[in-house]
Amino acid sequence: MIPLPALVRVRGRSMLPTYRDGDVLLVVRGVRPRPGRAAVVRLPPDSSGRSRPLSVKRVTGPDPDAAGRWWVDSDNAAEGVTSSDVGSLDECDILAVVAGLVWRPLG
């Protein structure tokens, strides 16, 4: 797959202080996850089987116990679902890598 850019808007506070609610990010699809980079990820369903929304997380590194899987974390330790809750994610669930902040709401 060739790298394809896309735009996403952050909702919530789990990536504070890096990204705030309302931030618009440029993300790139079709590139491999990189440890330390934020990414748009697909999380597994919750315990009741309800699907979770697409989320922005920090990829912290490869899962040492499973090849092709990645650990993700929130930047805000007080909030957000992380790999401590849901385990590592398959590489196909890391949908895009965050390239940078495009726009931030005033105030």
Binding site: L7, R9, V40, D46, P53, S55
Partner: protein
């Protein structure tokens, strides 16, 4: 679905309930409050009493927090229909942990009243869990 021409919303929310609830959290903090009241009664050291006061206020606040989580996140309208006294129980319990209760006083009997209220809530909680 991800595109350069349309901004997709991506979640950075915490509010994905883990679904793990237990009134024991409130009870343990309330037991801690009661124990502090007992220890202060036997100790005249002013530094100890100041520390005890601070910790007791923090623990009382935690009791309120854990009760509110049960009240607002765990219990659902059908529960309140089935147990009409549930709202009042939570109101009374959180008051007992507040400034007019264990937060503001060193009264072991108030802590006992608080523990009794938590126990009542706990009984209902486990009835709904096992229903």
């Amino acid at each position: 679905m991800l595109s350069l021409f349309r901004i997709t919303e991506v979640s950075a929310h915490c509010d994905l309930p883990c679904g793990v609830y237990d009134p024991a959290q409130a009870r343990i903090e309330a037991e801690s409050v009661k124990m502090i009241c007992q220890k202060v009664a036997d100790n005249d050291d002013p530094d100890f009493r100041v520390r005890a006061t601070i910790i007791k206020e923090q623990r009382s606040e935690l009791v309120k927090h854990h009760l509110w989580v049960l009240w607002t996140d765990y219990f659902k309208p059908p529960h309140f229909e089935k147990y009409p006294n549930l709202h009042v129980l939570f109101n009374e319990a959180t008051k007992l942990a507040g400034a007019s209760g264990t937060k503001g006083e060193f009264d072991v009997s108030v802590a006992d009243e608080l523990l009794a209220k938590i126990e009542e809530i706990s009984t209902i909680f486990w009835e709904t869990k096992n229903a």
